[in-house]
């Protein structure tokens, strides 16, 4: 066995920025810098005319020159077939574009660590099944061993609890992940406003247990929407003065957009800034104050407020039950965010130490923990040493196990990390489409409602639709409405060859199992004949294996820089 420590990594695959981290020998998460020396990498892909590919800041820099060849914000399209626009005349799937970013991050990881042993990738808690699958596929296409995917707020809470332990004078020489929360149980709200998505989650932390109580959010709400409001403001001013709308042509838009983004960042610290942009040879300066910015984006903040209040309503929690509010994600630096939360909660939210990196730190911690969980259990722990090591495969003995774990982190941290437990909830309901009794309309019948603690299993009884029905087809849905249009079909289950002569309304029992790693198992049984059918919906892939391999091969041949 190699003595080199092969470390798993945690990757925060963000809409605008991504980050990678690992857990060092002492059990502390560490960010990995990219080749340019930065700890966050813009999630931008530039496909050069010579077909070579550039990722990150350089790709973002190329955006104003070659907007047709640079892809950004593709996380918003996750779960869709193609990225919203063709790049260099070709259509790309959001998975493939994300895979390129992951490949670059993994490359940076190898530069730092030598080899990397598997990765945990983060997703917004509010992502549905299709987007989660797509994220996992992106990891596979990038050639990564995807250990797990973890919800961003859960990762943030984990990393934050760890950080707090250190801040409160945790013994640096004897660090251990699990001691982090050896304090009084507390309930934390994680408010995560990122570049493109918004998540809000309530997590109960009791010693080593991180239990998600409820989660909510919006998949299309983030920093880029705030930028767009400033862009619109500038363009309206420009049109008013010059009679031309910069939005009518694409050329200067990217430059205006990045100027506006910088202005947004500046307005977090200063009360006023000036937008200076040039369009078609006409230069214009537009001053913008923080109150103006807040007016332009009031409804966006209000939307996060609505989601936050809806979450408390769902969880039936009052603000008195929330002990602290943790701000995560670059856009939560917008001063109005903390002010709004303080106004409605009466509590002062705390900003995560590194709001851009904390999610990747948490993912790295989770990666380290999942590798430990995967490690084989010792057969015996007797003092005798096994001498023969020729006949493989051998059961792993205690020594080997110890060595395997030490390959990841120091013994002390190993013990501690094994004690951490994460429990999540499902962010969307799961159910089946049924024909409602009253009339012929179809309806969605939710079997596992959202915010149910995982793992879970539920059973519901239905009846066949017609006399002498020979088969039952179940369409499995994700969504919380009775109206099927509010749901997405994620699978199907078919009971065939039912006996002849069954009456109408013959009992069909449908059971759902949803395990902690996101696997959904559906079983349907007709109770009089005992004929059944089942289907496993694994969160593995939205692609056929063959296509996935093809994409993986294609990406492995590409050099990214």
């Amino acid at each position: 066995m190699s003595q080199e420590r092969v470390k798993p990594v945690g990757i925060d695959l963000g809409t605008t920025f991504s980050a990678i981290a690992y857990v060092d020998d002492g059990g502390s998460p560490r960010a990995i810098p990219n080749a340019e020396g930065a700890y966050v990498t813009p999630s931008a892909v530039y496909i050069k005319p010579d077909r070579s590919i550039v990722i990150g800041q350089k790709a973002l820099d190329a955006l104003s020159e070659r907007p047709d060849r640079v892809a950004v914000n593709f996380k918003r399209d996750m779960g869709e077939k193609f990225y919203s626009e063709p790049i260099g005349g070709r259509e790309f799937s959001p998975e493939a574009l994300s895979a390129l970013v992951l490949k670059k991050l993994a490359q940076d990881g190898r530069n730092e660590l030598g080899e990397i042993g598997g990765a945990v990738i983060t997703v917004p808690a509010y992502f549905g099944d299709a987007r989660r699958k797509a994220t996992q596929d992106a990891g596979r296409i990038a050639g990564l061993d995807v250990l797990d995917i973890i919800n961003e707020p859960t990762a943030a809470a984990l990393a934050n609890a760890f950080q707090q332990f250190i801040n409160q004078g945790g013994d640096q020489s004897n660090l251990s992940i699990a001691r982090i929360a050896a304090r009084a149980p507390s309930t934390t709200m994680v408010y995560d406003l990122g570049g493109g998505t918004f998540d809000v989650t309530v997590i109960r932390i009791d010693h080593n247990e991180f239990e998600v109580i409820a989660t909510g959010g919006e998949v299309r709400l983030g920093g880029i929407d705030f930028d767009q409001r400033i862009v619109n403001y500038f363009c309206d001013e420009f049109r008013r003065r010059h009679g031309i709308d910069p939005r009518d042509t694409t050329e200067t838009m990217e430059r205006i957009r990045s100027t506006c983004e910088l202005a947004k960042i500046a307005l977090s610290d200063s009360e006023q800034t000036v937008l200076v942009c040039e369009h078609l040879g006409r230069k214009m300066q537009v001053p913008i104050s923080r109150p103006r910015f807040e007016q332009l984006t009031a409804d966006l903040i209000a939307r996060t407020q609505i989601s936050t209040e809806m979450l408390l309503e769902d969880a039936m929690l009052g603000w008195d039950r929330i002990d602290n509010i943790l701000l995560v994600g670059g856009s939560s630096r917008i001063p109005r965010v903390a002010r709004m939360l303080e106004e409605i909660s009466g509590k002062k939210p705390e900003m995560a130490i590194a709001p851009d990196q904390i999610v990747s730190h948490g993912a790295a911690l989770h990666a380290a923990i999942s590798v430990l969980d995967r490690a084989p259990q010792p057969v015996t722990a007797v003092g005798e040493r096994r001498m023969d090591s020729e006949s493989a495969p051998q059961p792993v003995n205690a020594d080997d196990e110890q060595r395997m774990m030490q390959a990841i982190m120091a013994t002390d941290a190993v013990d501690a990390a094994k004690r951490i437990k994460l429990a999540d909830v499902n962010s969307h309901g799961l159910g089946v489409i049924v024909r409602a009794k009253e009339g012929q309309v179809t309806a969605n019948s939710v079997i596992i409602p959202k915010n149910t603690p995982l793992p879970t299993s539920r059973v519901k009884l239905f009846g066949t639709e017609a006399k002498n029905q020979r088969q039952v087809r179940l369409r499995i849905t994700e969504g919380d409405t009775r109206d099927p249009r509010g749901c997405t079909q994620i699978g199907e289950c078919l009971i065939r060859q039912l006996p002849k002569g069954l009456p109408k309304g013959a009992p069909v029992e449908v059971s759902f199992r949803y395990d902690a790693s996101g696997r959904i198992q559906v079983k349907a049984i007709e109770l009089t004949s005992r004929i059944s059918a089942d289907v496993h919906l694994e969160r593995t892939s939205g692609f056929e294996q063959e296509d996935l391999n093809k994409m993986k091969d294609a990406v492995s041949e590409i050099n990214v820089e």
Partner: protein, 340 residues
Amino acid sequence: MSNRPDNEDSGSADSVKKLEPEKKIDAYSEYLQLADGNRPPHLYQLLDIELFCPHPERINQAVRRQFRKIKPYEENPDRQVRERIQDVMTHIATAKTVLNNPIQKAEYDERLAKALKIDRDEYLLTRTAARPPEFCITVIAGPAQVGSRFELLPDKSITLGTNAQATICLPSLRLAPLQATVDQRDDNWVIRNANESLVMIVNDARCQEQVLESGDVIDLVGYRILFSEIPKAPRKANANAPPLSLVVHSGPSVPDPLMNLMSPASVLIGRCDTALWQLAGKDVSLHHARVEWDGAFWQLRDLHSDTGTFLNGEKVTQSILGHRDVINLGPYEIQVRLRK
């Protein structure tokens, strides 16, 4: 406020311009079930609350309600529909910011009053002059809480569900933590499902929300509640039926092995999802039997079930129930308890 027309126009408080969607999708009526009328609707129409509503709590509750209605559809595969839905969500968020800000609300109300040709002060005065009668909710059937009465206070909404924090906590495996809410709209009390997938039956008709009238009977899977005016004089104890309890003594496990009843409740027993008392064994018919108060006695009635209903070992179609009677129904044995 200056925003791009294709995206945020509907959001600005003073927008009275009509949106011109490329495709004719009226997201307001499609997803919020707003009545036809001017589009975009004014903010009070949008939130489906009374004109010039002065109660911040009711406004915010309405915001969440409307947001819950439309949000599930934001993942629509059609990009154009998705954008329309986003517009409406922005519009609701704007309603929240405008109506929660006293200065902006005053300005908005003034503009709206002018546009509608209404005198706002006079309007509000006539509204408050008419005091609605006082109502209460009584749990009349279910595994627990039967006989409990909750008075409805003006402008205070109440919640019903399994959660201990609910105004009316209804323990049951069949109910959601938040099952339904009752709140005031104009002069009426309205009951609403907490989410669309939950079953609610008001006076035998399945619905999502219902304006309540005194005497309405509402079924929330396993529980039946009565909405009525608060009686002026305290009622004579046991003027009506003695409370009845049905207990599953043996049989396959059921979510609620106990059903308590007081008149005017009647209980449908069966396998059906909407049966007030659901017993899920396979020899139980969808609608198997009914227990109801006939004015003098508690009656058990078989509803042409496949396997029959037995009282103290004898097959019955209809019979009076007494204390300690035993009902057999499919694989279940049920004991009857009558409190005097």
